[in-house]
C-alpha cells in the first residue's frame, strides 16, 4: 500500500481543500463522502483510482488486494447510507467472482490451450475506459469556440425593408380553384359563378357613392366603356340594390333617379 503516487488528481475538493485520499479517521462527514462519490464517474473510474493510488499493475492485478480495497470503499459508502449506483454493487460482484475463479485450480487440459485469464475482460475494460477518460481530458483541452476563442461576426445592415410575398395571378387562380374543389365536397356551400365584371362594377360604384350623397343615376355610368359596360354597370346597380347596399329613389315619375349608398355603408 504505497502512497507515493504524487500524480493523483484530488479525489475531491471540500471547502476548496483538495482531498487526495479517503479520510482514515473514524468520522467522515457524510457530505464530504458524497462529494467524493460524485467525483468518480463509476466503478471503472474508482478501480482506476485505486490501481493508480496503490501502484498496482493493471496487467497483473492482485485481485485480492484490489477487491478488498474496493469493498472497503463500498462499505464506507453504505455505512453512511449514501445511495450507491447499482453499477458499483455489480462491479463488487464481478471482482469477487474473478477473485474466486483465480483461486480455482486450472484444469490441466485447458491450461495448454491458454485459458483466458479471469481478469482479462476487466483489464480490457479498465484500459479502454482509461483511454477514453484521457481522450476526454485532451478534448477538453482543445480550444473551444466561445470558450477559448471568439468567432468573428460583423454586422450586415439589411437596408432592404421587410420582404413581402409576391403573388401572381396564377396564385389567385389556384386559391380559387382550391375553394371550388372544397365547395364541391360540401354541396351546401354553393359557389355561384358570376360575371366578375359585375362585382368589379359593384365595388366601383360603392366607392363612387362613398361620400354618402345622392348621385344622379346617369352619372354612375361610364359611357365611354361601350354598351357591354353600360349593361354590366346597370346589373351591378341592381345587384347592389338587391343586397341593400344602395338606395335608389325617384321623387317624381320620370324625374331624376338618384342612387346613394345605404346609410350604414358610409364609412365613418
Amino acid at each position: 500500500m504505497t502512497q507515493t503516487d504524487l500524480q493523483i488528481t484530488p479525489l475531491a475538493r471540500i471547502h476548496g481543500e483538495p482531498v487526495l485520499e479517503m479520510p482514515h479517521d473514524l468520522y467522515i462527514p457524510p457530505d464530504a463522502l458524497e462529494v467524493v462519490l460524485e467525483t468518480f464517474q463509476g466503478p471503472l473510474d474508482l478501480l482506476l483510482y485505486l490501481i493508480r493510488r496503490h501502484n498496482l499493475d493493471v496487467l497483473d492485478i492482485p485481485m485480492a488486494q484490489l477487491t478488498q480495497q474496493y469493498m472497503d470503499y463500498i462499505e464506507i459508502m453504505q455505512r453512511n447510507r449514501l445511495e450507491l449506483a447499482a453499477e458499483y454493487l455489480l462491479m463488487a460482484a464481478v471482482l469477487i467472482e474473478i477473485k474466486s475463479r483465480m483461486l480455482l485450480p486450472r484444469p490441466p487440459k485447458a491450461s495448454e490451450e491458454g485459458v483466458e485469464d479471469p481478469r482479462a475482460e476487466l483489464m480490457r475494460r479498465l484500459l479502454e475506459y482509461e483511454q477514453m477518460k484521457l481522450a476526454a481530458q485532451k478534448l477538453n483541452e482543445l480550444p473551444q469556440a466561445g470558450r477559448d476563442f471568439e468567432l468573428v461576426q460583423v454586422l450586415i445592415e439589411h437596408t432592404v425593408e421587410q420582404r413581402l410575398p409576391n403573388v401572381a395571378v396564377e396564385d389567385l387562380r389556384q386559391a380559387w380553384l382550391a375553394l371550388l374543389a372544397r365547395a364541391k365536397q360540401n354541396a351546401h356551400h354553393k359557389v355561384r359563378r358570376e360575371e366578375l365584371s359585375v362585382r368589379e362594377q359593384m365595388t366601383r360604384l360603392l366607392r363612387q357613392l362613398r361620400h354618402g350623397e345622392f348621385e344622379v343615376f346617369e352619372n354612375l355610368f361610364d359611357v365611354s366603356g361601350g354598351i357591354p359596360q353600360l349593361v354590366v354597370t346597370f346589373i351591378a346597380i341592381l345587384e347592389l340594390a338587391k343586397e341593400t347596399l344602395v338606395e335608389i329613389s325617384q321623387s317624381e315619375t320620370l324625374g331624376n333617379i338618384y342612387v346613394r349608398a345605404s346609410r350604414s355603408l358610409i364609412a365613418s
Binding site: P165, A178, L179, L206
Partner: protein, 222 residues
C-alpha cells in the same frame, strides 16, 4: 502565430509607460511628444486587441468598454486615435469601421450587400393558403363581408388575415352592410391590380375558365 503569441506575452509583462512615445506606424520616436498623457506602450498590440474585440462584438462597443481592453488606464483620445488608424487600415477592405451612436462597430460595406445576399438567398416569403383564399374570395366576390368569406371558406377568417391584406394595401373596407352587426364590406384595391400587373379585375382568370380546369379533374361543377 507563435510570433503573435510571443508579442502578446511580451505585451503582458511590459505594460508600463514608456517615457518617449513611439509612433507605432513608423516605429521611431514621435517628433512632437504628446501632451504629457500616459501612452500605452504597445499601441500596435492594443490596436490588434481593439480590432479583435470590434470584429467579434455583436453590438457597438463604447469607448468605456474599449478602454477595458488596455492593461493600463487609457485616455479616450488614445483609443480614438487607434480606432481611426484601424478605420483607415480597413478603408480598402470589404468592411468598414464606423462610429455610431453607442460606440464603434464594424459593418459590411453597403456595396457588398448584393453579393452577400447571394449567400443567404432569402426564400421569397409566401402567403398562407388562408390568406390567398381570402384574397381570391375578395377579388372575385367583392364586396364581401367577413361572414361571406367564412361561408365560402367553410372556416373562420382570422382578423390577422384581413389585417395582412389591408396592410399590404390590397384590400380595403368600402363600407358596411346594412344587416345586424353592420359587417364591413371588403373590396380589392387598385394597388392589387398594379401589383398583379392587371388593368382591371376582368383580367383575372375568369371563373368559367377555372371551373373548366377543375372539371378536367373529373369532378362535376357545382
Amino acid at each position: 502565430m507563435s510570433e503573435q503569441a510571443a508579442a502578446l506575452s511580451q505585451a503582458d509583462t511590459q505594460l508600463t509607460v514608456r517615457a518617449e512615445p513611439f509612433d507605432e506606424a513608423q516605429d521611431r520616436p514621435v517628433e512632437a511628444p504628446s501632451e504629457g498623457g500616459a501612452v500605452p506602450i504597445d499601441a500596435a498590440q492594443l490596436k490588434k486587441t481593439l480590432e479583435a474585440a470590434l470584429l467579434t462584438a455583436q453590438e457597438p462597443l463604447s469607448l468605456a468598454e474599449l478602454k477595458k481592453l488596455g492593461d493600463a488606464p487609457l485616455e479616450n483620445r488614445h483609443i480614438e486615435e487607434l480606432l481611426e488608424q484601424l478605420a483607415k487600415e480597413y478603408s480598402g477592405s470589404g468592411v468598414e469601421l464606423n462610429r455610431v451612436a453607442n460606440g464603434w462597430r464594424f459593418r459590411a460595406r453597403p456595396e457588398m450587400q448584393p453579393y452577400l445576399d447571394r449567400l443567404n438567398p432569402q426564400k421569397p416569403p409566401r402567403y398562407s393558403r388562408a390568406v390567398m383564399e381570402t384574397l381570391a374570395i375578395i377579388a372575385y366576390r367583392q364586396p364581401v363581408t367577413r361572414g361571406d368569406i367564412e361561408e365560402i371558406r367553410g372556416v373562420a377568417v382570422s382578423s390577422q388575415i384581413l389585417k395582412t391584406l389591408e396592410v399590404r394595401g390590397w384590400i380595403e373596407t368600402i363600407g358596411t352592410r346594412d344587416t345586424p352587426g353592420k359587417p364591413e364590406l371588403f373590396a380589392t384595391t387598385k394597388q392589387l391590380l398594379d401589383d398583379l400587373n392587371l388593368r382591371s379585375l376582368q383580367e383575372l382568370p375568369s371563373l368559367e375558365e377555372i371551373g373548366t380546369l377543375l372539371e378536367q379533374g373529373g369532378q362535376t361543377a357545382a
